[in-house]
Symmetry: D2
Subunit: 369 residues, 4 copies
Amino acid sequence: MAGNSIGKEFIVTSFGESHGKIIGVIIDGCPPGLQLSEADIQTELDNRIPPQPKIVSARIEKDIAKILSGVFNGFTTGAPICVIVENKEADSADYHKIKNLPRPGHADYTALIKYGGFGDFRGGGRFSGRVTVALVMAGAVAKKLLRKHDVDVLAYTSAIGNVKLERQVTYEEIRKNKYENAVRCPDSSCANEMETAIIEARKQGDSLGGIIEVLIMNVPPGVGEPLFDGLDADIAKALFAVPAVKGIEFGAGFKAAILKGSENNDDFRVRKGEISTLTNNAGGVLGGISTGMPIVARIAIKPTPSIAKKQRTVNLVTMENASISVNGRHDPCIIPKAVPVVESAVAIALIDHMLRAGLMQRIVKKEHE
Amino acid sequence: MAGNSIGKEFIVTSFGESHGKIIGVIIDGCPPGLQLSEADIQTELDNRIPPQPKIVSARIEKDIAKILSGVFNGFTTGAPICVIVENKEADSADYHKIKNLPRPGHADYTALIKYGGFGDFRGGGRFSGRVTVALVMAGAVAKKLLRKHDVDVLAYTSAIGNVKLERQVTYEEIRKNKYENAVRCPDSSCANEMETAIIEARKQGDSLGGIIEVLIMNVPPGVGEPLFDGLDADIAKALFAVPAVKGIEFGAGFKAAILKGSENNDDFRVRKGEISTLTNNAGGVLGGISTGMPIVARIAIKPTPSIAKKQRTVNLVTMENASISVNGRHDPCIIPKAVPVVESAVAIALIDHMLRAGLMQRIVKKEHE
Amino acid sequence: MAGNSIGKEFIVTSFGESHGKIIGVIIDGCPPGLQLSEADIQTELDNRIPPQPKIVSARIEKDIAKILSGVFNGFTTGAPICVIVENKEADSADYHKIKNLPRPGHADYTALIKYGGFGDFRGGGRFSGRVTVALVMAGAVAKKLLRKHDVDVLAYTSAIGNVKLERQVTYEEIRKNKYENAVRCPDSSCANEMETAIIEARKQGDSLGGIIEVLIMNVPPGVGEPLFDGLDADIAKALFAVPAVKGIEFGAGFKAAILKGSENNDDFRVRKGEISTLTNNAGGVLGGISTGMPIVARIAIKPTPSIAKKQRTVNLVTMENASISVNGRHDPCIIPKAVPVVESAVAIALIDHMLRAGLMQRIVKKEHE
Amino acid sequence: MAGNSIGKEFIVTSFGESHGKIIGVIIDGCPPGLQLSEADIQTELDNRIPPQPKIVSARIEKDIAKILSGVFNGFTTGAPICVIVENKEADSADYHKIKNLPRPGHADYTALIKYGGFGDFRGGGRFSGRVTVALVMAGAVAKKLLRKHDVDVLAYTSAIGNVKLERQVTYEEIRKNKYENAVRCPDSSCANEMETAIIEARKQGDSLGGIIEVLIMNVPPGVGEPLFDGLDADIAKALFAVPAVKGIEFGAGFKAAILKGSENNDDFRVRKGEISTLTNNAGGVLGGISTGMPIVARIAIKPTPSIAKKQRTVNLVTMENASISVNGRHDPCIIPKAVPVVESAVAIALIDHMLRAGLMQRIVKKEHE
């Protein structure tokens, strides 16, 4: 079975279930010498929970990150880093009731087929959005390591349902504004509309999806392996580990399909002795290898499948048609929580490739020496 | 470096350069007992070359597949299968002229950075579309193996530039019609418009991209591993090995981002004792695992970067701005050739997961026993 | 860096340090449906500690196994299984004193070179024998799974220093007697001599090594992959993860080097419709694949490097010659503790190959259904 | 199935059968910029064939190495390197006769079980010693790359049957003398005795095994990963890919089992500002990581299983007892041919770890620049 690890140099292994004892992650391959504390990870975990209770699930447990291994005297040692959070607020009663009624749009049915009924179904078990806590914790380490090389991975909300951020936002705007509002959109008036749309969907017992965009600055050219292990390929693979992702595009993406070659090609220019391109329709990747331009990706997130509205399903025991209304603590829109998760997945894939390319230091120098 | 292999059970390794001696592929992990001949592979290779010289490159060498290992007495043995084609018609003269002028939209520049100038630049070397011959040869084996389990992977053209196949086409239509025309579109009138658009682009010294769609029938539920090794994740990863792919979506894809949960969720129903869904917005995958419904994907292909129109580039030796007009034998639209390549990449990812899931026979029974 | 995981289907990841918070292990790929409790793992952990305080280290902390994930309602779920023990009795004071004096025969020096001084040196950190607790916990799961298929992996002591078990012991004897004495030797009079030798070495401030033998019953023929992934190759690789292993041989092993072909070859015979061999010089493996005969291996274990006797070393700060006498709680002979560790390493490699060969059930049926 | 690739950074894939069209190898991950010609590989291939026809098989086909990819203008490009030799002299008639009579000591029986009768049995197919040609070709590249870093891997014969090289030989002696005689032993008088022993065994219709020793000079300290991916572990794993290997030991090896800690530990000393050890019982590896001292290993090779003497076997069709006398072109002792194969397997494992440790240049500088 397996499937719970990713990476060749920076290897992330996820474990734990939604309503089990813990959610945890192992990072094997982090270079020694990175200053790392539980607070570094806590900051990222806290960013997962938007400060606006109306737009998120009522299950707002404060997750406290604990580092169990791999850090000594405040620095990574080169040994596997294990970080866990305990599950405290899980209320599994509802799940026993709907155990035999697979929720439409969820992995309940496919998990059942796959694991022969032995899977921990409570809260979706391994297929719960809660498992993304592991990604965020690993992402915190990946992002700290990337910042030592001035690489900055930013994800932000660019659409929720029909509300779209139409204008171009700058790197500085995203950096400054994205955590200023509950929906993680760098434009505050657009953010307001998004919040309203989410609250409206919740009232209807319904849910919304949207688009998350990613911007990565300062990736040197030459990152990514040829053919099967392209940087875009591995970023895409990592992103599909984020539940609800249904589509990914780089640069001009699907729009490139309607451009002509002369419109889509990014012409090269020399500026102050440095080569760059005039446009960035490639989104920073050519032939699977970084060009040195910003890496740009857009990710489609489907609406949360758990909704209060009545839906049709089947009773797996009686094999008769049935209906279900998923009550409990569910997010009417997963996007705000998904932003740091997407950022983490991308950071994990990127750092792995930077290490593969030999562009990261194998041992990080101590900061004050 | 590496990066030229894919798969965990059905492991495909690509080798050879555009203007080198051969293009080849190794398949390690094909179960023993599959009846396989060079003709099986030749058929797929022949499908790569559309029968309409106006819409493709003038370099139409007839590639002849030779099996070098892994087949004995007409059946696979379980040992690595090596298949090669020889490169005959390569004309490298033009490439020496533009060696120091990276072509916009191509991997020339990133390859140079990555390989320090040692790479075989002729015809794009490893980054040439010609390397997809290896994918098609491996795909021929993957598809034959899938058909033993009644699984059928179909790719077809759904858009070229602004010409889109708007109506829904059926499985039977695709199966029957896609190789009836040069653009591999199952609708003949749409195909005519596409051909016209390609011829027009060529006249302008320009090129077109488009959309390829994939439909996979009869994948049993339960294929795909959780979290990082989802079936969708690994299909996406394999597809990014096809040059020019810039976006991928499954099922409703980017459209799911604007649907409400109640619209996007696929309700379950029992019909004749079998569970299926009323709609297929998930595109046959939930939680990274197949649902038993058809797997549906859409792939964005950028326009061919090699165009006759003059473009801006840089001279890497003098580090001065320069211009380039890429003459030579180039396809004004790569889509028709890309259709069997996309089909192959998807088949390779799928068979690997079927073997991982334990759903393929480890030894294929002899056909007439 | 990495290197802390092993296996392709039954993937074991080790984490934690000797004097850190915990020692832990993740098992990814255990089929769902195996009945598993903390008691199952505890039994194996308890076997690590011989009941004779004179022959082992004074650090006898009772390790209590806690399952953090992957088990639900008493059965494995197919999700990653995380098991940890807490470190309680670690006394790190001594290690700070000898921090700059690498102990001869230990990994102190190589670890320092590798991790640039960031490694957790206390108690040897990741290179401590204590990390084998993780192997034993994973081995407990592997062995339980193997027993569902009637496969039994047995390790036992066959030599300590110059005391050798000269006579052939039977499977039943090993099974019955090996845990009847402190040195894990199935012959009680030989065991007495071994204990005496260990006590004598301790008195001298010295240590002993020895030989551990492995006998595996009921492995079906056909387990092991060709060429690079032979069953013997992967058992050997797993065994080198056990600290102090310096040599491995299968069947006749080094003795085969002096036999003639006619003496070493194992002739085939049919008995009651079953094929077996008259001898087993191959040790149950031919061409990397199991023959169906018992798998037999011998492992050389070096004497414990930590000894009270004064030894020569260097001061890494002053770069001057120095001397060291390693006091503290050290085993005068690691063999008794190593027996269950060796058994676990072999079981982990074997189950991985049985899963790869398709010879294990992907889902274990519930026991009372 | 799979199993035909090894390595994480320097990935070697073997293909081809004994009596098929070719024996081939792919090397993925060789850094660009290494000067490499077919002659480099040919030299190593020629070393496989001892210049004394009485001691080797009559099948002495001159294998001609052809590079099919990955080399351009005389230098490696960073792309996969494919090298093949054609099989010319295969005479398969004998094998059809004994198809149903598994040869004792060979993989015929286990291959049959594994591949359900579809395997290419001619000449042992994939399990033939001839497949080691692939290892030697990959080893030629590995050794050339290692020499750029002054690392020298030497294998030589130290025992054939009961004839043992008792005295210690120096690096210079091995380097100078090992290819001066047919048995690849650096001591000429010992070599004469070995030749005599082999000729005697052949006369008796029998065969001999022996011991090959490996000495590796100039490996820097810090090569090898912790725990599961130790340098010794991966060298051992690679060596088990050499047919007939039954045992491996490093440094004092099995002798370490009878030494005391005070005898076996290698004391550290500073000499001219460099740290080394006074003895080398560790064989250059501690905790799986190189110490900077020479790496020393001994490998037990069993006698060739193919012998003219009559042996007992079974007829797999009738399932009755039978006898077999293996005529044809067989080596009475495989050791002389195995020496360069062992050297290659070790070199392949070592270069992979040097690349993993970040101690090899990712791009090899041009030689005359």
